[in-house]
Every structure is written in C-alpha cells, then in structure tokens.
C-alpha cells in the first residue's frame, strides 16, 4: 500500500538522477505534493515560487522553452484554475511542461476549495495537452519515467488515496493505451486513478452476489484515450458504466461517451461520479459513501444500470 503522491515524490527523485534536464517548480505546497525529496536531492534544479501559481506557470514555460523539462507542481484545484496562463503561456507556445496536480478527487476535510473535481475537464480542453492519471504506485512511477524522457505537454493528475499495487512488475505506461484489469462480458466498468480499485471491488461483489460478468478497464491515459479498447468494450459487452472522482461533465464519463457515440454499434453509457456539485468537508470514506463512490455505492449504481438496460437487453437477445 502506498499513497500515489509518495510514489510521485520518489519517482521524481529517481527520474532526476537519470534526466539532468528535469527540474521541479513548486507553489508552496512541496510537502503536501511530496516533491520535497526532489528539492533536497537537487536544490539547484528546484524552484519555489511561493503562493503565486500564475508566475509558476510562466516560469515553467520559460524553463521549458530554454530546453529543460519542468514538472510544475501544486494542488490540482489550484494549478488547473490558472487556465488562461496554462493555455496562453504553456500551450500556445507548445512548451514541454508537465503540470502535476495532486489532491485530485475526494480529498476529505479540507473541502471543496481544495479538491480537484473539474481539473480533467479543464485540462483536456487545452490544445496539445495530454492528460494522464495513475491508478497504482507502479503506474505512477511508469508515468513519471515516461514523462521525464518525453517532450509533450501533459497534465498528470494524482489522487490522495493510499492504494495497493495491481499491476505486474515491468508494466510499461503507453500514452493512449488502456488496460483491462478484469475480463467480463455483461458490462464494462471503466475507470481511472484510484477509483479503479473501487471499480474492481464492486465488480467482485456483483460477481459473487449476482453472477454478473463485469469487465473492469483502467484508462490511465485520458488524452489521448484508447479508442479501440473502448470500442471493443462496446462490441463485446454492449453496456458501459464509467466511474470517476471528478465531475461527470468533461471528465472520464464524457471522454468515454464521446468515443461510444462515434461507435457504429448502439450502446448505453452511464456516467457515475460528481454531477454538477461541490463536495463538502468529511473524511474521504464518508465522502465516498455520500457520493456513492465506495464499492457498495458503485455496485448499487452498476446493478441499477444492469437491471434497467442490461438484463432486458440480454433477455431480448437470448430468448428463453
């Protein structure tokens, strides 16, 4: 078990040794974002800009245009709020900056202002910006290593949760490629980030209790997204549920629905996540329960979708 931001911090230090052009910009939250290890190891390549994220965006842009590979780090809610700066300084210049937003999702007692719940929607609308989100410690390390050796602009969203490892050693992160974590034919449950663990638990529960065969898909690359994998889910299951700790408008649910809408076969997509709301202060566990983003909540949502769309459809297709 490891917090993904801890994995991020360690991965940056490791990548810093392999990539001398890697630099880190922090906006007064280097302890919370866990990049303080990089600051200690590489003080000359570390830039603390203070509580001045807009300036941080510009500084990262200049560093990148000068040939370095900056990771600009802050809370996702704060840094992606600098939309016009990211758009006009980083993206308009195609400056190879990695914007790292930690505390994406249901963060807990700090409440709505500090929780990144619209960040994916904002960042994926920016031309040329890639959007990635790891689900496990190994995936975090693989992404950081990929990004350290790459020159594309990217947004890396990191959740606050402590999660177990799911992936096999040697896992390679490839932009635009999703991963099937569990096979199934009745329904595809598509997720990203730490909600992947919840999706898996819900799928296990519905398998035990209702004999449903649920495919669980992890989409670590939200832009570019694995269109062929989504299309395969449509063709092979005919019913898709997305689950995310983000607003369903513009996030994973929208991304998947856009692809499904362009598939030839008709397919129902149910988007489960935050729907046009701010969260409130509570423990992450309480918030997950309130917003039905714990395993029981996701299982209930999936079952309702199955009963409404999947069961009748299957009966029609397989009479008797």
């Amino acid at each position: 078990m490891e917090a993904l931001r801890d994995a991020l911090g360690k991965a940056l230090v490791a990548a810093g040794h392999r990539h001398p052009d890697l630099v880190v910009v922090s906006c007064d939250v280097r302890t919370a974002t866990r990049v303080q290890g990089f600051f200690k190891e590489f003080p000359r390549r570390s830039f603390e800009v203070g509580i001045a994220e807009a300036n941080g965006v510009g500084i990262a842009t200049g560093l990148a245009l000068a040939g370095l590979r900056p990771f600009l780090t802050s809370f996702s809610a704060f840094i992606t709020g600098k939309n016009v700066e990211i758009r006009s300084s980083i993206a308009y210049n195609r400056a190879p900056v990695v914007v790292v937003g930690t505390h994406g999702g249901l963060i807990g007692p700090d409440g709505a202002t500090h929780a990144g719940l619209q960040d994916i929607a904002v960042m994926r609308s920016i031309p040329g910006m890639r959007v990635f989100q790891p689900a496990t410690p190994l995936e975090t390390r693989a992404m950081v290593e990929h990004l350290a050796g790459d020159r594309h602009m990217a947004y890396l969203r990191i959740g606050r949760e402590v999660v177990p490892e799911l992936l096999e050693p040697g896992y390679q992160f490839v932009p635009g490629r999703g991963v099937v974590l569990r096979e199934g034919i009745d329904l595809a449950l598509i997720s990203s980030g730490s909600l992947v663990h919840v999706a898996l638990a819900a799928a296990e529960q519905l398998s035990r209790e209702r004999d449903l065969s649920i495919r669980v898909v992890n989409l670590p690359s939200l832009k570019p997204v694995d269109r062929s994998l989504i299309q395969r889910c449509v063709e092979e299951t005919g019913l898709v549920v997305t689950v995310e700790d983000h607003d369903v408008s513009g996030g994973l649910g929208s991304i998947v629905a856009e692809v499904v809408g362009e598939c030839p076969a008709p397919c129902q997509v149910h988007r489960h996540g935050l729907a046009d709301v701010f969260i409130s202060s509570a423990t992450p566990e309480e918030l997950a329960r309130i917003h039905r983003l714990d395993a029981a909540g996701v299982a209930a949502v999936v079952l309702a979708v199955w009963d409404k769309h999947g069961g009748p459809r299957r009966k029609a297709h397989r009479p008797g």
Binding site: V23, R44, R45, F47, V49, G50, A52, A54, N55, G56, V57, G58, I59, A60, T61, G62, L63, A64, L65, A66, G67, L68, P70, V84, E85, R87, S88, S89, Y92, N93, R94
Partner: protein, 283 residues
Amino acid sequence: MAISLTDRAVRLRLRAIAALHRAGSGHAAGALSMADLLTALFFGEMRLEGEARDRFVLSKGHAAPILYAVFAELGWITQTELLSMRQSGSRLQGHPDRTALPLLDAGTGALGQGASVCLGYALAARLRGSISRNYCVMGDGESQEGQIWEAAMYAPAVGLDNVCFIIDANGYQNEGRTAEILSVAPMGPAWRALGWNVLEIDGHDIPGIQTALRQAREHRGQPSLILARTVKGKGVPFMERGNDWHCRVIDGERYAQAVVCLEAQLSDPSLRLVDESGAGGGM
C-alpha cells in the same frame, strides 16, 4: 552606409504601419511607442546569435507589428512577409505565435504573462552558467495584471540579475488613460521597494536608452527595470494625441499622411523602404 539608430527607429515605424495598413486591423499606437526601445535593444545591446544569445519576450503581444518590423529590418523576414501580417496562412499572427514563427522566444497575447516566461528563461540561463541576458517589454496598463507583481516579487527574491524588464509607459490602455482607469503610479518607487534596480528614462531618447541598458547589464545582485516614459503613437503626429489610435484601422489616406511624416524624419531619402510586393504606394 551604416544606418544610424535614429533612422532605424523611423524605418521600424514605417514597416509597422505598412503592415498595419495592409492588415486593416491591429494595434498601431502602442507599437509606435516602443520603436525606439526596440531599436536600442536589437541594434546594439542584444546578443542576437549563438548559444548564449539574449532572449526577448514581448509581454504586450499586441505590439507585435513593431517586433515583426525589427525582424524585417534585421533581414530575418522579408518586407513582403511582414505585409502578410494578420492574414490567413501568415506566420505573423495578430499576436506573436512562436509555433508559427520560431524567431520569437515566446508567443504572447494574453496580458501579464510574458514577464514570468522571461524569468523562466533567466533561471535556465543561470542554472547553465550562461551569460545570456533576458529582456521583457510590457505596458504600463498591462502592469494592472496581478501576475506582473508575482514576477516582480520573485526575481529580486532569488537575485536574478540577468533580467531586464522594460515598461513602455505610454500612459494609455484600451479604454483610456491608465492613471484614470486603474492607476499603477508611482511605478518607480513600487518596483524599487520590491528590490529592483529601477532606471527611469525618456523612452524616445535613444542614447539615454542605450545608457540605461548598459547600466542594467552591469548591475549585479538585482534585476533591473527600465521605466521608459513614452508617447503612444510616437512619430506620427496625428496618432500622438489621445488614445484614438489604440487599434484603429489605418486607411489609405491616413497611411499616406503617416508615410510622409515618417519619411521626412529620415536623414536621407535613400533610406526610404522599397516596396518588395510590387503593390506601389511608397512601400
């Protein structure tokens, strides 16, 4: 014959208004106010080539025509290309686009952002032990943007002395007088209080600009700010009064008048620009 800096500045103005007239849109007066500043920078002070070349960020991106004029005067682009500004397919976008025109060190346009990008370049130069200097021109109206002050706090805090910001203080912004819309005065004391080496000058006195740039270069331990008092529309008398020419279209008649005024300021008629496009009209 070596072209004097005074003549260079007039030629920059001639080039910029030709492009603006041809485009039928764009920001004339705020480009003209900084012609003398760019003349001193690009035709003397700045190291324009090599690994350790100096960097230049035009934070007031709407003044792009005068920067494109510099590129044409340097021979980096042709006058014909200059006249393609703001047209479909042109590398010379309405506001500078580095992805289209790699001669630019930064694409800009949304105000308040260029200063920070310039600081990023400066940090990279210092990290690499490069002697490269890093310049940014911004407007006085632009200084209303909060990000300018984030950058203003940061550079002295980390002792970046390879940075020189220049404020083209022409006193006007889109809607009128900067002093009346949201005063940022007194700018000199404000920047000085934050730890900048502030040099207040007449932004149309080319030898004075050169002296300030040299003093900024030689100053150690602090970033430098050149606060250049300028006249919006400088060089074209009918544009120098008020704020009418912030983004007004320069029609044929006005353009002809402007060319006459500017050409009269050249020390020698042979320095007039030759029209490479074959379209006539003195340019």
